[in-house]
Amino acid sequence: MLSWSTVRERWTGFVGSFIALTLGVGVLTASLVVFVSAQPAVPDRLAGAAVVVQSPAGGEDAESYVEYVPWSTERAEALARSLRGLPGVTAAVPDRSFYAQLVHDGRPVGDPEAGDPLGHGWSTAALAPYGLASGAAPSAADEVALDAGYGIAPGSTATVLTATGPREMRVTGTVDGPGIYVSDAAAVALAPGVRVIGLVLAPDAAPDLVAAAVRTAVGDAGTVVAGDARTALEPEAVSRIRWLGTQLITVMVLLAAFATVFVMASTAALNAYQRRRELALLRAIGATPRQTRRLLLGEALVVGVVSAAAGAALGVLAAPWFGDLLVRAELEPAGFAPSPSLLAVGPAVLTGIVVAVVGAWAAARRAARVRPLEALREASVDNRTMTAPRWLFGGLFGLSGLALAVLTPAVDDGSAMTTAIFSALALILAITLFAPVVIPPALRTLTLPLRRSATGEVVRESAGAAVRRTAATAGPVLLTVGFAMLILGMVKTMSPAFGGDDARTLGVDAVVTADGTPGLSDAAVDRLPGTVLSGLSTQVFVAGTARDALGVAPGAVPVAGDAGTLAAGTVVVADPRWQVGDTLRLTFADGVVAPMRVAASLPPEALPTPLLLPKDLVRQHDPSALTLTAYVRGAPPTAVPAGLGVLAQDPLDYSANDDEDQLVWLFVLVMVGMSVGYTSIAVANTLVMATGDRRRDFRVLRLSGATDRQILRMVGTETALVVLFGTAIGALVALPALLGIRSALAGQTGVNVRLIVPWLEVGVVVAVCAALALGAALLATRRTLHRAQPR
């Protein structure tokens, strides 16, 4: 009864918790809905194959994805033949897929992922199954059937881009599903290696029984999957995208949870502090400490249940929008649509309620120890703001921050930057914790000039005297501005410094990457002017483990160092396990195994891939191999002809526009954005709660002749001052750290690094903090003034 009445009556004290928790549960619900919905699915184009045989699984690659060692054409055909004879199997189709892209008006259409190619042999259409929408199936070498969605009628010609270059092909038909289909004979040449054989079953065949028979027939030549287990067929590119999406979701959920607990805890503490007289009264008239604690936890529970419900509704509504956003940011595969389930909403709601109660726990414990005597005493001046944990953790963070700062020049180059970052983070946290001690004297010094006007004097004194309010406002601002400046500045400063490595060491004039295609075709590379340094990216298996390899021609190697020793039948390695003279048995993308002699061994950091192979050997074994990056020496970016998905950039621009950097930037913006959101809630909440408490002050001011306008101006100035102050201190802590990071970077890369502070983003952070703080303070003051009207 009491908990509920209190929440209803003193809602201003809970509105901050409510908003924070509603948003937190909203983020959590939307994220969980997306997360639960984003489960691996059987690829559409294999959905009609009830039983699928996969080539043997190799070891995991560098990013822990399982790679499958391809069968050679002969091996796959022999296996398929043997399976066709099994009862219940109507078709056994080796899946031949290769890089292909339609070119329209000289521009490649769409932007297919490298690991999920569009080019297929015609017979694989039966695995979806996709049928002809019009026309006939391709049968000759230069014939093609296209996705009807391209809108190209049978009989016309289409330009199809493959790894070697564009080719004019005659369109024989259109297909009611995605893909570019060539004749099976042509597909064997374009995709000699096979990783999947799909089985189409007779309508009356039981997949489980067939799968068992297939398993016996295949033995250890492959893995047989049927039913839901076929989700293992999901292309790696799709899994990778989803993995990225999951990373972002995890960051968001953790941040939301942390920030919500923080806001809840600080709100609960302030709330309990403001109500200590009421709590003491309860204690005096017979509420035991346990009852007092239960009262406060009960209030938290009420707030928790109400806002968890609101948050869940919000999250479910926002989930499709969020999913769409992730798809557009290429963090979820195209066509992804989240669907809410109890599995997602239930845990989110439960977490919200638990967070509410946990956030109020410490405050409730402290408040329950309030002595009944305090009900009888006039509220004294605020002085017990530094709690023991504040001293303890503030001291710990401060000391470790200083220690790390001192250590930074002493540690080796590699860890100097990490040291600088942790030092700055620790110092920011320390100052935030020490805010009640640090802020009043600093504020008083800073505002000496304000002393001259009467309102200025009041502003100065009240901001300095109400330690708790000032600290609770400036603290989060300081934390956010410092954190935002540090992280944003760090990422912006670091990315050109790192990304520019290759281009700088090679001394090139232009960097050519693919735009709208997963990589550059041979034709695109051949057209480049000047001296071109490039390599074909492929993957080979050494003893069953996938290794990235680069196919290069001597004299045009896109890495520093010497590949001159690379001759036909040899390999240059960058892995200390292999010595010069060793012979490696490599399995290529076409399933062919060949022994290769190690011609040279380099330190691992010298090469971008563990292996360098002769370029023509790579092209011979991997018809879909593409060039990811080509470096041009002796010609400016403007001299590079456009078309075929070519993007030529100045080396500096290239390093700044790295895809990976953009992803990092997105992550950072999400993090900073969410922190700012929560800070603003915390600050606004503090101000609303604290202002309600100042009714008596305002009445006295009014009696002393202050107009409402003067009081509002006073509160506005005070708030602006506190926000400005938090900003200044935040910047003061972050800037030296950034300078430290800059010099650490310079030492590490050996070049002069520019310090980049993204002032725009930092400005937005400060503006949002200031606008919300001012809005909250002024609105609350107006309301309080209105209420304090003499009756």
Partner: protein
């Protein structure tokens, strides 16, 4: 000096050689310096004294809100010394009612809910009629559904009295109950306290600095520097002007 009134066994509250010091070493302040006093069942006692005389500390110690440094306190026959915080709280709930100067009511609750609060905290479910009767006895039968912010200061104090009496406590402690009220409201509140003693046989101990207020009591104790220094017995007529003047004269002498 030791003042004993009536027989021991009929005392609602008894303090024996109570000392209370705050702080330690050179900064130590003695608020009560060996006070022994008893408050008879069914009596209305006012405790007076200049500020800093220890009258509030006396009340706090007698009510179990503060623990004496030395000496013993018993309420309703139970020794308070050595009781746990929990036991002390439940004892307060059962045996003691409070009326403070201000901030007496929980602002989120209605008048009726405030009155019912001590019973509910004790785990009881009071009948609505009982609460209505308690409110009616302080003249606020029609105000049960109002929140404290909708009541005047005097009405709030009357609700507080109803709440203090609803548990039928052995003793009601009032700490400057009229300190923030106008004269008319003060009279109503004091009248109600006197009524509780004389019509309902409760015991009231009231700390005040207002001679007019103490003139409603049957007995007035005077404190100075932590000692009991004087005692006056009233004529039995509430708010007797002559008695009030006599009390004021004693006070003036103490403050001089």
């Amino acid at each position: 000096m030791t003042i004993t009134t009536g027989a021991r066994q009929s005392e609602a509250v008894t303090l024996r050689s109570v000392r209370r010091t705050y702080g330690t070493g050179g900064a130590a302040v003695t608020a009560l310096d060996g006070v022994s006093v008893g408050f008879r069942d069914g009596s209305f006692t006012a405790v007076m004294g200049p500020s800093g005389s220890g009258k509030s500390t006396l009340l706090h110690c007698a009510a179990g809100l503060d623990r004496p440094t030395e000496g013993t306190v018993s309420v309703g026959g139970t020794e308070l010394g050595g009781l746990s915080e929990h036991r002390l709280t439940t004892l307060r709930r059962e045996l003691i009612g409070f009326v403070f100067q201000e901030f007496n009511l929980v602002s989120a609750l209605t008048a009726a809910q405030n009155v019912a609060l001590p019973l509910r905290l004790a785990g009881r479910r009071p009948a609505p009629e009982a609460i209505a009767a308690a409110l009616a006895s302080v003249g606020l039968a029609d105000r049960g559904g109002h929140r404290p912010s909708e009541l005047s200061g005097g009405q709030q104090q009357r609700v507080a009295i109803a709440r203090a009496l609803v548990t039928r406590p052995a003793v009601v402690f009032a700490d400057e109950p009229t300190g923030a009220l106008d004269l008319r409201s003060s009279r109503q509140v004091l009248g109600l306290l006197r009524e509780a003693v004389h019509d309902h046989d409760r015991t009231v101990v009231m700390v005040t600095h207002d001679p007019l207020a103490s003139a409603y009591a049957d007995r007035v104790l005077f404190l100075a520097d932590g000692h009991l220094v004087d005692e006056l017995t009233g004529p039995g007529t509430p708010g007797d002007a002559g008695f009030a003047a006599e009390v004021a004269a004693r006070m003036a002498r103490l403050e001089a």
